[in-house]
């Protein structure tokens, strides 16, 4: 899966919206599904799907998506609900707000990152809370250890 995504990033295939090499876009690109960009874009990118920035891409835009793979150049802030990946040819100048950040050796990232794991929600009964150790209980344990030795 990771390999497929990697190949897609280098060849920008398989997405519903594809901006090819040599194409220049000005404005706000919005979509309900995946976007692959291998051209030049100046504006913003927003989608409920994933964004793949191809090796030939040169983007000056903030990107908001479910997950983002960067194999080209991006100048702008990147926000993803899932992971943001910068591949070996990727170059990101901007801040990242994502639930995961992966930088492959050779990838360049200049900016701040805010990586927050999604909160895990447990279903069913909550586990019993662990007993709080008081000073006396710590002392008790210590004295018992001393006694054993």
């Amino acid at each position: 899966m990771a390999r497929k995504a990697h190949e897609d990033a280098l060849g920008v295939a398989g997405a519903e919206t594809v901006i090819g090499t040599g194409v220049i876009v000005h404005g706000n690109l919005e979509s309900e599904s995946d976007i692959a960009i291998d051209g030049t874009l100046d504006g913003s990118v927003k989608t409920k799907g994933n964004v793949i920035v191809g090796v030939n891409a040169n983007i000056k835009a903030n990107i908001h998506a479910t997950s983002i793979i960067i194999a080209g150049t991006v100048k702008g802030n990147v926000t993803s609900e899932g992971e943001t990946s910068i591949l070996e040819t990727g170059h990101l100048v901007g801040d990242v707000d994502a639930s995961g950040l992966a930088i492959t050796s050779g990838g360049i990232f200049v900016g701040r990152s805010l990586v927050s794991s999604p909160q895990r929600v447990e279903l069913g009964e909550a586990p019993e809370p662990a007993p709080i150790e008081t000073d006396s209980s710590v002392k008790d344990r210590k004295s018992s250890r001393d006694h054993e030795s």
Partner: protein, 298 residues
């Protein structure tokens, strides 16, 4: 009530030889209706309007893409269904509805499976399926592809390949839904209703732009594919750029002719938008088939 708009010139007049067989098949299927022959451009539109005014609820275009296009432009706001019996030189529309031969078309008419498609407006013209600009439009104008014999195909391929190799890419600018603009040098551009490609999809414009294939082998393959299928090459996976929209304005430098469903229908700059007007088409494509295909892919 069926009304057949017959173009006697379609497909080099092949209706002359088919007429008796076709009518007897329609009789067998119990869908014989009124039969009217066109005499020139615009006739199919006038006949369609008259047929709807006299209460016909199914208009069948017996001809090629030109005839179908004229029928569509005659439907107006009426709730009539449109069928196609493909006997023209270019039967792109019928093929996209899954109808390839005339006997199959008769069966489809009798089965009367209807799918509703939004019309697309290009300037003052309405169309259903595909608008092309660039190499394919030039090819349609310069190379006669009606003859499908081996020698003819070889000659057509030689001509087309030469034209493709020398084709100078068009400088193009596209405004999309007042949200963004796009600039590129294009080899071929196609705009279609995505529902035509997949009946499960919404009615939306799908814009596909192809760059020059460059490599001789790829160029040859693309030319051959275009000649054989007469389907906009840019609409398949080879398109280097594609996106969905509801309205686009296309400009080129220099201004160029556009082709709508196989017919020259204006010049750039031109606004193209999806309209609220819907036409019900008799189709051979079964939605269940698409569901199966999608399920097998996932």
């Amino acid at each position: 009530m069926y009304y057949y708009v017959v173009n006697p010139a379609a497909g080099r007049g092949q209706i002359k030889h088919l007429q008796d067989k076709l009518r007897s098949r329609l009789d067998e299927l119990g869908i014989r209706g009124e039969w009217a022959k066109t005499t020139g451009p615009g006739d199919a539109t006038r006949m369609t309007k008259a047929a709807i005014a006299s209460g016909h609820n199914t208009i069948v275009a017996v001809g090629g893409d030109d005839t179908v296009n004229e029928v569509i432009n005659g439907i107006g706001q009426a709730n009539a269904a449109v069928g196609i019996i493909p006997i023209g030189s270019n039967n792109r529309l019928a093929a996209q509805l899954g109808i390839i031969t005339w006997p199959q078309a008769c069966e489809a008419l009798a089965a009367r499976r209807l799918t509703s498609y939004s019309l697309i407006a290009a300037g003052q013209n309405f169309f259903l399926s595909t608008l092309t600009l660039g190499f394919e439009t030039d090819l349609d104008k310069t190379v006669d592809t009606t003859d499908t014999g081996v020698r003819a195909r070889t000659r057509q391929f030689r001509q087309s390949f030469g034209a493709a190799r020398n084709f100078e890419r068009l400088r193009c600018r596209i405004e999309v839904d007042d949200q963004f603009s796009l600039e590129c040098d294009l080899f071929s551009l196609s705009i279609a209703n995505q529902k035509f490609l997949n009946p499960l999809a919404d009615n939306r414009l799908i814009i596909s732009i192809s760059d020059h294939p460059g490599h001789q082998l790829r160029l040859g393959r693309m030319v051959w594919h275009t000649l054989r299928n007469r389907v906009a090459g840019a609409l398949d996976d080879r398109a280097s750029t594609r996106f969905l929209a509801d309205r686009v304005v296309v400009e080129t430098d220099p201004p160029k002719g556009i082709m709508v469903d196989g017919k020259v229908a204006g010049r750039t700059p031109i606004a193209i938008r999806l309209t609220d007007r819907r036409i019900r088409f008799v189709t051979e494509k079964i939605v269940a088939d698409f569901k199966d295909a999608i399920a097998s892919k996932t």
